[in-house]
């Protein structure tokens, strides 16, 4: 208990449930193996489905012959591209996928045919019997190759070469900013792509229930390990041509997602179609290799950054360019491209900022959102770049950062509204807790001791700070409806059932709903029954992405619960002869605050209220406020009702003879506002630290001869428990005025500072810079050997990021915008109560939707 008390933010409200270190509501079923995941589902007469995937990174399909496979006994259906020709994609602006390839395959793993058979062995045999004739095309496997070969087109639809999306923005007066600088520095960085590696591989079961009386012919149910049942619902309905009313998508227990289960997938669509054709349930479970091929993971990004500063460290201007390796399809890539630029001004108060981003198609598995979605790469670049600047200017890296931190309740140069912000406190906390200053002061003594003992090991500490959104301010498809809704039903026995589309992928969103409703209604969380992530039973929640669920579903739940509480209190007030505003709910009772003896049990109150008002059902919903972003095209990526902040200090040990890096400890301070459950927050912080550690030092989705080089979790390196460093979580900050009970996000933000903190610590230890992650021991050793080489020796040059030289101007029209133009910056911030009712929402439709429907002209889009 004490450990968790320590983690409590200072100003917790007088809550009974909120802020308590309770176990997750599904903890027992999960750890005892009782929880049902998609692959656990077995239905009578179920068939086994699978996909035949392309063996070539880029090829034209000349013919597909399924005859031999069809003739194999036990094969019930085979479909190919023509059977599902309708295009889809998660973003309305990137509808570039088909469930099965038509004409062309674009990466090794691109699905070509799907089979349903009576058992897995027959399935495997049938897949082998399908004959596909290909004409192999040259493959483009990197950003540089994609830029160098506009003649080899991966998508005919791309307007210029293989450029999927290019954007260009200038906020404030950038040239003037650089002119005013005393010092300007430029750097190139590269962030290698990586996969989410969820422990549960993707799986789904589809069931078709025919009904000859129904003009549609029947109803379809899909159980799938997805983070976004609502979006899957939309896309499956579209591709299959089944009205949404006849389709039900359910996410059962999901064994981790991290962004990898946020797209609609070919295997989901094919399972549905195979089920419809055979009239029997069909299951498709992906192998680990298929998870690497489905991917949608972290984009490899090459970055160039230029910053101007005053001698005292005040930033005068920043120019940032990103080149994203998108892989073969759009996925979330347009949003990712924006995200590589959007949050720089949310961490540091930049007076002038220019951002140019470009995403390229390559013949690799499509990239998409992974924890931190498009922001870990620039965060790495910015934080290492600033560290170099601090060294150049002889400034303390902490002071340099402090001088530029974004301030609470301000407006950024790119128009984003900042409310609660404890970034400075995060920074101070990690510095104090890690003993940073003492560590740096003791360096000479430590080095002398290492020399004396002939030890090749050197220690270093590095630091970085970051920001993340608490939910995207805009939905993925343009609409004016709530982002999240919750319904609650009370029954006479005192039971409480909560319905919400929110999808628990292990992060604990279902538990958070239980805590919040329990707090509001004054009952214990165990009493609450939860129905979640079911497009038929539950109202829409957009999904588990962009760290939005606690904030948005939480606010919707508070609203729904308060509506019921009002009814209960008014019925109880009458019976107890106490004015309703003198009543409180707690410990399963409704009682008078003036005399707690005057009380009714929760059940009694429910029965009185039901007698008086009829069935007790309520709904609540949430949409983010409007006034949180600028009014330029593309302003829809970046705004959020609140931002979380983090700071990290890493302590590393570098073996200077072998280049091996050991992270000894990570200190992570995180501004989560009010922790709804500090235990779950600490879990997210630790999970982030662990993932960040892996990305910094080992994870890489790399290719050889057009193929994923290491598509197994033996060869693709993620840290084991033995590698994972000690992690100290420090929760800071004040409750956010709009967050549910003041809560903010914790699922992604704490990841962001970890990679640059480790990179900076390596520099601090041995004086070398590796400007590309992962920082593998071979790169470290190469840099060390280059730095130490004696005259006469000819070591390999240190690893360097090769710059991209563009022969043409940036392929997007520059959009210039300043807060002054819109008059936003001058306005005092209106703070609304977070749980704004949906009906109150204004009509204003900013042009800044992340992903405007494709029919809108795309200003500033691809040239």
């Amino acid at each position: 208990m004490d450990e968790w008390r320590r983690l409590q933010p200072r100003k917790a409200g007088p809550y009974r449930v909120v802020g308590q270190p309770l176990p997750k509501v599904d903890a027992y079923s999960t750890v005892t193996g009782r929880a049902v995941y998609a692959d656990d589902i077995m239905l009578p007469r179920m068939l086994y489905g699978g996909l035949l995937r392309s063996p070539h990174p880029h090829a034209r399909i000349l013919s597909i012959n399924t005859r031999k496979a069809r003739e194999l006994p036990g094969v019930l259906a085979i479909i190919t591209g023509e059977d599902l020709p309708r295009k889809y994609g998660i973003l309305p602006s990137s509808q570039d996928e088909t469930a099965l390839a038509i004409d062309k395959v674009r990466y090794v793993g691109d699905p070509v045919a799907a089979v349903a058979a009576v058992d897995p062995d027959t399935l495997e045999q049938a897949l082998r019997l399908i004959e596909v004739e290909y004409e192999v095309l040259p493959a483009l496997m990197s950003i540089d190759e994609a830029l160098a070969h506009p003649d080899i087109k991966i998508h005919e639809e791309a307007r210029t070469g293989n450029i999927h999306k290019a954007v260009s923005y200038e906020f404030g007066e950038v040239e003037a900013g650089f002119a005013a600088a005393d010092y300007v520095r430029e750097d190139w960085f590269y962030y290698e792509g990586n996969n989410h590696v969820p422990i549960e591989t993707h799986a789904c079961v589809a069931r078709w229930e025919p009904d000859p009386h129904d003009p549609v012919g029947g109803k379809l149910t899909l159980w799938s390990s997805t983070q976004t049942p609502h979006y899957v619902h939309r896309e499956v309905s579209k591709v299959l041509g089944i009205p949404p009313s006849h389709l039900r998508v359910i996410a059962p227990h999901v064994g981790g997602g991290f962004g990898g289960k946020s797209d609609p997938f070919s295997h989901e669509i094919c399972a549905c179609e195979l089920a419809r054709r055979t009239g029997r349930p069909v299951k498709i479970t992906c192998t680990r290799e298929e998870v690497f091929l489905i991917h949608r993971g972290r984009h490899p990004v090459k970055m160039w950054i230029k910053t101007g500063l005053k001698r005292d460290g005040t930033i005068t201007a920043m120019h940032f360019r990103s080149f994203l390796d998108g892989g073969a399809y759009g996925s979330y890539g347009v949003a990712t491209t924006y995200y590589t630029g959007a949050l720089q001004p949310v961490t540091y108060a930049l007076p002038a900022y220019k951002f140019e981003g470009m995403r390229l198609f390559t013949n690799k598995p499509p990239c998409g959102p992974k924890r931190g979605h498009g922001t870990p790469q620039p965060r790495f670049a910015v934080e290492v770049h600033l560290d170099k600047i601090a060294a150049d200017l002889g400034l303390d890296p902490i002071e340099l950062r402090k001088r530029n931190l974004v301030r609470p309740f301000s407006r950024t140069i790119n128009g984003l509204r900042i409310t609660s912000c404890a970034l400075e406190e995060c920074l101070e906390q990690v510095v104090a807790r890690s003993g940073w200053r003492e560590f740096q002061a003791a360096r000479p003594a430590r080095e002398a001791e290492a020399e004396r003992r002939f030890s090749p090991v050197r220690y270093g500490m590095g630091l970085a700070v970051s920001t993340y959104i608490c939910g995207a301010g805009k939905p993925i498809y343009w609409n004016d409806m709530p982002h999240s809704a919750v319904q609650i039903r009370l029954d006479r026995g005192g039971g409480v059932t909560v319905y919400c589309g929110a999808t628990d992928i292990g992060q604990g969103s279902t538990s958070v709903l239980a805590y919040i409703v329990a707090e509001e209604l004054g009952v214990e969380p165990e009493r609450i029954h939860l129905e979640t992530a079911d497009t038929t039973l539950t109202p829409v929640d957009l999904g588990s992405y962009s760290s939005r669920v606690t904030f948005m579903a939480g606010n919707a739940a508070i609203q729904a619960a308060r509506r019921l509480k009002e009814l209960l209190h008014s019925a109880a007030a009458e019976r107890l002869r106490v004015p309703p505003d003198r009543l409180e709910s707690g410990d399963g009772c409704i009682y008078s605050v003036d005399d707690p003896q005057v009380a009714l049990s929760f059940e009694q109150a429910v029965q009185l209220a039901e007698a008086r008002y009829g069935a007790l059902v309520s709904a609540g919903s949430y949409a983010p406020p409007e006034d949180i972003h600028g009014d330029f095209k593309g302003a829809g990526v970046g705004p959020s009702p609140a931002y979380s902040y983090s700071a990290c200090v890493a302590l590393v040990a570098v073996d200077s003879e072998t280049g091996e890096v050991k992270v000894e400890k990570l200190w992570l301070a995180h501004d989560v506002g009010q922790a709804i459950n500090p235990l779950l927050v600490a879990g997210q912080v630790e999970g982030s630290a662990y993932m960040g550690y892996g990305e910094a030092l080992m994870e890489q989705q790399i290719f050889r001869k057009g193929r994923h080089k290491i598509p197994s979790i033996l060869d693709y390196k993620i840290p084991t428990t033995l590698d994972t460093p000690e992690i100290e979580t420090i929760l800071v900050g004040q409750p956010d005025e709009e967050g549910p009970f003041g809560g903010k996000e914790a699922g992604q933000g704490p990841l962001l500072p970890v990679m640059p903190a480790i990179a900076n610590a390596i520099y601090n230890a041995v004086g070398i810079r590796i400007d590309e992650v992962p920082i593998t021991p071979d790169k470290v050793l190469r840099a060390l050997k280059a730095a130490r080489s004696e005259p006469g020796e000819r070591p390999l040059p240190p690893p360097r990021v090769t710059p991209i030289a563009l022969s043409e101007p940036w392929p997007a029209r520059l959009i210039r915008w300043s807060p002054g133009h819109a008059g936003l910056a001058e306005q005092p911030l209106k703070l609304m109560n977070g749980h704004r009712q949906y009906q109150e929402q204004g009509e204003s439709t900013p042009q800044g939707a992340a992903t405007p429907p494709s029919r809108l002209p795309q200003k500033g889009g691809t040239a």
Binding site: T285, T287, R453, F454, L714, K717, T721, D723
Partner: protein, 335 residues
């Protein structure tokens, strides 16, 4: 999940029954001990045996007995966990305990045996891939194809000997016993290996490895260092086994150094050993010895990390292993 190909499973109760089954079934049958190497390989279709002869129940393959004075016998069916925790081995053959404990993960060490480790299939990251992957890139000669994808002009396969215990057993001068219906033979462990990634063992398909014999240990110190990326799971990308005995006056009476994961077989560093034998160890001499040993490492681009890196680390690991055996006072660490 990948699925096993169809096969028959035979479960003999005695060694003689097992050898008889292997002989009867012919080369299409394979023995299986812990299955931690063979079964994953079968799922990826590197092997598609018609029958597996299970060795689990054979009491003849069990037991660790003996003493440092007369030597120790280890049943080939003993798990890596029991080898790494056995007091006799930990005290008198510490390199073997270290190597066994460095294999993969606790779960796999509980199932995997020392016999299976010795006969681990050679590895290559063009080969240890699924059937889909190998089909996609075009099969190599080790299975289903005709060329080597790492060294396309090469007439042979360079898959890597990757078993942790093997270089250790070489420096300990272990002997192994092979049993078949045709009789028994006991050979020095070096003779079990061939410098050939495709046929890395001289074991005949009807032979069962029944036991490992370690010679007496007095006066010997031994150690094993493993290069890998993570603290668990990973196969070695370099293994250095070293054993030595010192004279009264501090000179090196005898020394043995073997490298794992640098070739298709465990590699003994003869030149390096000869350079050190009979000498007083000094930091400079140890550097020379390490450099000589490293000459034997010729990695190819078919394992984790870069060739240069694996090559550069060989002398560092050899010197560190010798430092460990000579005690800290030698202090030949980095300047």
């Amino acid at each position: 999940m990948l699925r096993l190909p169809p096969f028959r499973y035979l479960a003999p109760r005695t060694l003689s029954e097992a050898t008889r089954l292997l002989a009867e079934e012919g080369p299409a049958a394979m023995p299986v001990a812990g299955g931690t190497d063979l079964l994953p390989n079968m799922k990826r279709r590197q092997f598609t045996p018609a029958a597996l002869v299970g060795l689990r129940r054979l009491h003849e393959l069990k037991g660790i007995s003996g003493s440092p004075e007369v030597g120790v016998r280890i049943g080939a069916g003993e798990t890596l966990t029991s080898v790494s925790t056995h007091p006799l081995i930990r005290t008198h053959y510490p390199a073997l305990a270290l190597a066994a404990a460095a294999v993969s993960t606790p779960q796999l060490r509980n199932a995997g045996t020392i016999g299976g480790n010795i006969l681990l299939d050679t590895r290559c990251n063009y080969y240890n891939q699924t059937e889909f992957w190998r089909h996609s890139i075009g099969y190599c000669m080790k299975r289903d194809g005709s060329i080597c994808l790492v060294a396309p002009g090469s007439p042979r396969c360079w898959a890597i000997s990757s078993a942790d215990t093997v270089p250790v057993l070489v420096v300990l001068q272990a002997r192994v016993r092979l049993v078949s219906v045709r009789g028994e033979r006991e050979i020095p462990i070096q003779e079990l290996f061939r410098d050939d990634g495709m046929r890395p063992y001289t074991r005949e398909t009807d032979e069962i490895l029944s036991e490992i014999w370690l010679p007496p240990a007095p006066g010997w110190r031994s150690t094993y260092l493993k290069l890998r990326r993570r603290g668990s799971f990973d196969f070695p990308i370099l293994g250095v086994a070293a054993a030595l005995r010192r004279e009264q006056d501090g000179r090196i009476g005898d020394v043995r150094i073997a490298l794992g994961a640098v070739a298709s077989h465990p590699v003994e560093a003869e030149e390096a050993m000869a350079h050190l034998r009979g000498q007083q160890p000094t930091p400079a001499l140890l550097q020379e010895v390490a450099a000589l040993a490293a000459k034997r490492a010729r990695p190819l681009d078919n394992a984790d990390l870069t060739i240069t890196y694996r090559k550069q680390l060989t002398p560092v690991y050899v010197r560190r292993a010798l430092d460990l055996l000579l005690g800290a006072e030698q202090g030949s660490g980095a300047k």
